[in-house]
């Protein structure tokens, strides 16, 4: 028993070391400017919210947070909305060429963004969508759509068919069955898919960096990468901005861990 406890402690210590870089970043965001460079003491003499004040009052981060949240939510809605319909068709209805479509979905999840970014850039420019939310919603939504379809088709297949057949016997049509039987049962799976799609859009950098030009549509990762420094790099402010950028991921891994884990495992083991 004692050996077990010592082992527990050792593993937790190893994990604490693992998480140290992030806690260091958090501490940097609260450290007074005068104690940042050069670094002479591990622990700061006092903590301050000055960096957050700068980020909220004088940087483009507040606007970027709004852009990121809106774009991530809407592209998730696009991917999960269209994905759920397509997944139901692929899982339950007779579709000619089903295996080809499913194979195409897996192949599409592997597409490198760098290969499609130049055509997407030309396309969005031609459509007059450069530097708009819509451009990123379409780019991110379509990029996550194959994974969402794949995940949801798998989750729908896990639902016992008998439930749907019972509904049909009771006189419900296909669409009513989808709405009142399948969707409620697959809701946890949709949460998993939605979390992955949201995280992708929130973290996405290459599309956002290439398709945006001003604060009208710049997302958090872009604002962070372009964080301005007048004479020197304002590391305290960057740390504070990074912490704000990390809030949704933190919320997801702490609050929705179960759904995230389920989605990740199902996504990797494409059975």
């Amino acid at each position: 028993m004692r050996a077990g406890r010592a082992r527990d402690g050792l593993v937790l210590l190893a994990l604490a070391v693992y998480a140290a870089p992030f806690f260091w970043l958090a501490m940097t965001s609260l450290r007074p400017d005068t104690e940042l460079l050069p670094l002479t003491h591990l622990w700061p003499s006092r903590l301050t919210l000055a960096h957050y004040d700068v980020v909220f009052r004088q940087s483009l981060m507040p606007r970027a947070l709004v852009n990121s949240l809106g774009i991530a939510l809407l592209s998730t809605l696009l991917a999960v909305g269209l994905g759920a319909l397509a997944a139901y068709a692929l899982a339950r209805l007779p579709v000619r060429g089903r295996s080809v479509i499913l194979l195409g979905m897996i192949a599409a999840t592997a597409f490198p963004q760098i290969a499609t970014v130049s055509p997407l850039y030309l396309l969005m420019r031609a459509l007059g969508l450069r530097d708009t939310w819509l451009a990123l919603i379409l780019a991110n939504g379509s990029f996550t759509l194959p994974l969402v379809i794949w995940l949801l088709a798998g989750f729908i297949r896990e639902i016992p068919r008998a439930l749907e057949e019972a509904a049909v016997v009771d006189g419900a049509g296909r669409l009513a069955t989808l709405r009142w039987v399948v969707l409620p049962l697959v809701a946890p799976g949709m949460a998993s898919a939605a979390l992955l799609a949201f995280l992708f859009s929130w973290n996405e950098f290459l599309f956002a960096y290439s398709l945006t030009a001003t604060e009208a549509s710049r997302t958090v990762p872009v604002a962070l990468a372009l964080f301005p420094g007048v004479f020197e790099v304002p590391w305290g402010d960057i740390a504070a901005a990074s912490l704000l950028a990390s809030l949704p991921p933190i919320l997801i891994v702490v609050g929705f861990q179960r759904y995230l884990v389920r989605g990740l495992l199902a996504g990797a083991l494409r059975e």
Binding site: V11, L12, S242, V254
Partner: protein, 285 residues
């Protein structure tokens, strides 16, 4: 309405979006890679395979291919080894498993731009924690051509190891305890139990994790672009960074697309290997 018709109605919106924003761009990039396209000089003409012919003798391309290969091989190998080790540690864990998973998943879920900025600050010559813990040195980790790539790999390993850990951990939980008890009765414990029971059962999923990580490492862009920008002197310039710079900084759309197509081809080779492995595992399972 027949089920067949309903199926197509339900599929149509998703297929239309994918057709317009994924398949069409994927074909368009092939077309673009066969052209000279430099919009600022209004150049737009047919190039055929000239970009690819140039890549064959382009030293910057071969350097980028080499960097991509080293980055992928080293980070994926380290991620798999470390990921499995962490999963084995977590399996024996009684308390704090949820918190442990949260800590690990956080590293995976952070925007890679945040990870890049975080490591840039950790590696800072005067203000970085790494130099401080090394006894107050002033090593310029990201400015030294010999150190920049290892430093980048370390950042990627930090970010992506939890993914491998999660997959291995999930597999380990499904191994029944009786197997180990039986082995102990037979006198197999410790390393023997690992090589005879754990390893054969974990190996298939580790292979899946390895292919997945290879796929992601080949197309990685954010972390090196933000951490080092490909520098110093091209020491961390991967194919993706080379493609981006060509596309959006020198604005050679045709040539940049050709580099993108090469990345595309590499990734698809790994993707096919992945499908083959999954398929074979399904048959043996």
């Amino acid at each position: 309405m027949t089920d067949r018709r309903l199926a197509w109605i339900l599929l149509a919106p998703a297929l239309a979006v994918l057709g317009g924003l994924t398949v069409y761009p994927a074909l368009w990039v092939l077309w673009l890679s066969l052209q000279y396209r430099v919009p600022v000089f209004s150049i737009s003409r047919w190039a055929g395979l000239e970009h690819y012919a140039f890549l064959a003798v382009d030293t910057r391309f071969w350097n980028a291919a080499w960097v991509t290969g080293v980055f992928t091989a080293c980070s994926v190998a380290l991620e798999c080894a470390l990921g499995l080790a962490l999963a084995l540690g977590l399996r024996g864990q009684h308390r704090g498993r949820r918190m442990a998973l949260a800590l690990l998943l956080l590293a995976w879920a952070l925007p890679s731009v945040v990870t890049a900025k975080m490591f840039e600050w950790l590696y800072h010559p005067a203000g970085g924690l790494v130099n401080f813990l090394a006894g107050g040195r002033t090593i310029n980790w990201l400015g030294d051509p010999d150190l920049a790539l290892p430093a980048l790999i370390a950042a990627d390993v930090w970010r992506a190891t939890p993914f491998v850990t999660l997959l291995c951990f999930a597999r380990l939980l499904t191994i029944p305890a009786d197997l180990y008890e039986a082995a102990q009765v037979d006198g197999a414990a410790g390393l023997q139990a690992f090589t005879r029971i754990t390893w054969p059962l974990v190996r298939p999923i580790l292979l899946v994790a390895l292919l997945f990580r290879t796929l992601d490492a080949l197309r990685a862009f954010d972390i090196m672009f933000v951490l080092t920008g490909g520098g110093p002197a091209g020491a961390t310039e991967t194919l993706t960074v080379y493609a981006y710079r060509t596309l959006f900084q020198t604005l050679q759309i045709g040539f940049g697309s050709a580099i993108g197509v090469v990345v595309f081809a590499f990734v698809m080779v790994v993707a096919v290997a992945y499908l083959w492995v999954i398929n074979r595992q399904d048959q043996t399972a």
